[in-house]
Structure formats: C-alpha cells, structure tokens
Amino acid sequence: MRLNAEELACNRGGREVFRGLSFALSSGEAMVISGRNGAGKSSLLRMIAGLVRCAAGQLTLDGGERDTPLAEQCHYLGHQDAMKPSLTVSENLQFWTEFFGARTHTIESALQAVGLAALTDLPAAYLSAGQRRRLSIARLVSVQRPIWLLDEPTSALDSPSQKRLAELMQGHLAGGGMIVAAAHGPIGLERARELKLDPA
C-alpha cells in the first residue's frame, strides 16, 4: 500500500499556505511533518483526511481496498478529542467503534492499551486533558484503519503515556500501517522520515 501526494497546494481563507508539495509513503513507514506555526501542518493532515479540499494536485492510495475512499481508510487525531462529557468512557469509545465499524479489539482491551481500563464507567467530563487524549487514542486501536493522521499526538500526555503511544505506533507500523504526524518535538518514532514545511 502506498500513499502518493503530487504537487499539493493549500489555500486557507484566500491565503496560499503551501504549494508544490509531493511525497510518497509506503506501508510500515512513518512521516513527521515539522515547520513553524501556520506552515500548514494541520492543514496537510486535514487534507489527507478529506476535511480540507486540495487547491491543486492530488492524493492517491495505491493498493488496499479500491472502492473505499481515502478518508475512510484514515484515522484522524486532531486537537479536539471528540468525546462527549456526559457519556461514560466506554460509551464514548463504543460509539466511535460502532460508527466506524470493522473493529479489531474489544472496548476493554482498547482501554487497557491506553491505561484507562479502571475508568470505564466514569463520565468523560471528569477526565483530565491527558486522559481524554488517551481515550481518543484508544479509538485508533479499537478500529483498524491503515493510515493514522496524528496532530501533535503527544500534547497533554505524561511520559509513561508517551511511551505507551510510541509502542502503539510501532505496533501499527509493524502491522503494515502508515503514520503521518505533525509535531514540534520528538514523538518516539526514531525511523520516521521528516517533511519540513516552510511558509510560502
């Protein structure tokens, strides 16, 4: 499986963020996007997720399920956690798992993987920022999708959780997945390629 980006350009609010961006990523590879604030890191991730339109160029996925659009083969972990405060931890995860379908892990084992197994029945309103982050990471574990798009995944995470996330990412890559992450510092992927965005 191979993700190709050719001559991508991005416009936000009439301003050109980047253009002429090309890269290719194969199964088992990770890429870390770096660059100054406003360089278009988040926009690029949202573009791959199908949430922002490409002003020019195209994104294609070779191999994999041909009939499934690119967006439906991606997991997107954005700045917001997409968790409802009035639902419990397990209800939140259960919903996203059922909504995305094709789950690979039970809710319990996904929560175990991010260290939230003891809090299943707690309403998400009482979670700390880091715990909410871990809950949304559990979503990536519980449903199998080949491409992970992570926007500053380590923000709000303590060091044991960062280590656990690094292990999950290694596991995903070892299983033939791909990761595209936007980050300012190291996120625990030693062999990741780097893509530097410079504001136009």
């Binding site: 949430l51 499934t68 967006a71 954005g78 917001q80 409802k84 009035s86 639902l87 259960q94």
Partner: protein
C-alpha cells in the same frame, strides 16, 4: 446499519443526560400555551376557535428551540470531523441526528399537545386529529430546521440566525397544519386535502433537508 443505530442511540442519550435539551422543548411549549389565555382573556369560545393555531405556533417555536445546538456541540468538540470520515454518507448521518432530535424533542410535543388543548378549551373529540396533524407535521419542522442548524455552524453564528432563516420556510407547514386541524375541529372544510399536502411537505423535507444540510456542512467547514 450499525453506524446508524450507534449514532441514533448516542444522540438520544446525549439529549436525555445532563446538559441535553430533551424536555426543554416540551416545557417551553407548556409555558407558551399557558401564557396565551392570560394575554387573550378568559373568552372560552375565542380560545377554542384559535386553539389549534396556538398549539401549532407553540410547537413550531418549541421544536426550533433546541435545534441550533444540533451540530454546534459536535463541531466544537471535533466530532463533526470524524462523522464526515465514517462509512455512513454525511447525508444519512445528518438525517440520523435529526431523527434522534425529533424523537427527543418533537415527539414529546405531540404527546403533551392534547393535554394543553384542554387548557385552550379545544373540543375533546377533535384532540386526536389535532395530535395527528402535529405528529405528521413536526418532523417537517425538524428537517427544515436542520438546514438552518447546519448553516449556523458553517457561518459560526448560532441562536437567532436559525430562527430568522428557518421560520419563513416553515410557513407552508404551518398553514396546512392549522388548516387540517381546523377542518377536523369545525368540519366546515374537508380534512383530507390540507392533511395530504401536510404529509407531502413532510416527505419532501425528509428528503431535501438532509441533502441541503450535508451540503452546507461540507462547504462551510473547510
């Protein structure tokens, strides 16, 4: 189908839990209808005559009340991004949210309407018919309001924008809803024609509402 059920159950749960708006519409309806006799005076004949119109207006305002938060909360916490990335087409996701909203906000209005009809001296024998017109008509209000809710998110304006955008569009539903209710009550005109047109308006909005709302979300959320 699993995704559809999951979204329906989640939205209904959210509506009945803390911070949800499930009974707000019904309470607002109750207050509006209760205040009418105070404003109009205790003329029972007059109240009975304008009763159906008051009930319909109350239901219209009440069903739009909680609608502006329909997409706003999902937009604020990032859920809307993920809803767009599911295998369920956005049109269907949007329709599912509207169905959940109607079941928790619209249906309670239909259920308490006969009770409120008593306060307006509406004839008992016609109460069932009046409730039937609301049962058929309120989904149309929700699905027309859906477009306004989506636009409100896309334009990052909540609250009053929804009412200003949506209320003019609900005029046909109001006209034929009240016409059908009056026909059932007073028998001066046949019940069939306005009621069938009301059904047609509901069916059309069930189809067009989600398509327009999904288009507004796709276009506005870039």
């Amino acid at each position: 189908m699993i995704a559809f059920n999951a979204l329906l159950v989640r939205d209904m749960r959210l509506a009945i839990r803390v911070g949800g708006g499930a009974l707000m519409g019904a309470l607002f309806f109750l207050i509006v209808v209760t205040m009418m006799p105070f404003a109009i005076g205790p003329d029972l004949a007059l109240l009975a005559r304008i009763g159906p119109a008051i009930l319909w207006l109350g239901a219209l305002l009440a069903s739009l009340l909680a609608l502006d938060r329909l997409f706003a909360t999902d937009h604020e916490d990032g859920s809307l991004d993920l809803l767009m990335m599911g295998a369920l087409p956005l049109e269907l996701s949007v329709a599912t949210k509207a169905i959940a909203h109607w079941l928790t906000t619209g249906l309670p209005l239909v259920v308490i309407a006969p009770l409120l009809g008593l306060m307006l001296n509406v004839e008992l024998h016609a109460m069932g018919w009046l409730a039937l017109t609301l049962l058929v008509g309120t989904p149309a209000l929700t699905f027309i309001g859906l477009v306004g809710a989506a636009l409100a998110v896309a334009l990052r304006r909540g609250g009053l924008l929804l009412a200003v955008l949506v209320l003019p569009l609900t005029v046909p539903v109001l006209i034929f809803g009240v016409a059908a209710a009056n026909a059932a009550l007073f028998g001066a005109t046949p019940f069939g024609p306005p009621f069938t047109i009301l059904c047609a308006l509901t069916l059309a909005s069930l189809v067009l509402g989600p398509i327009a709302a999904a288009a507004a979300l796709r276009h506005g959320l870039e």
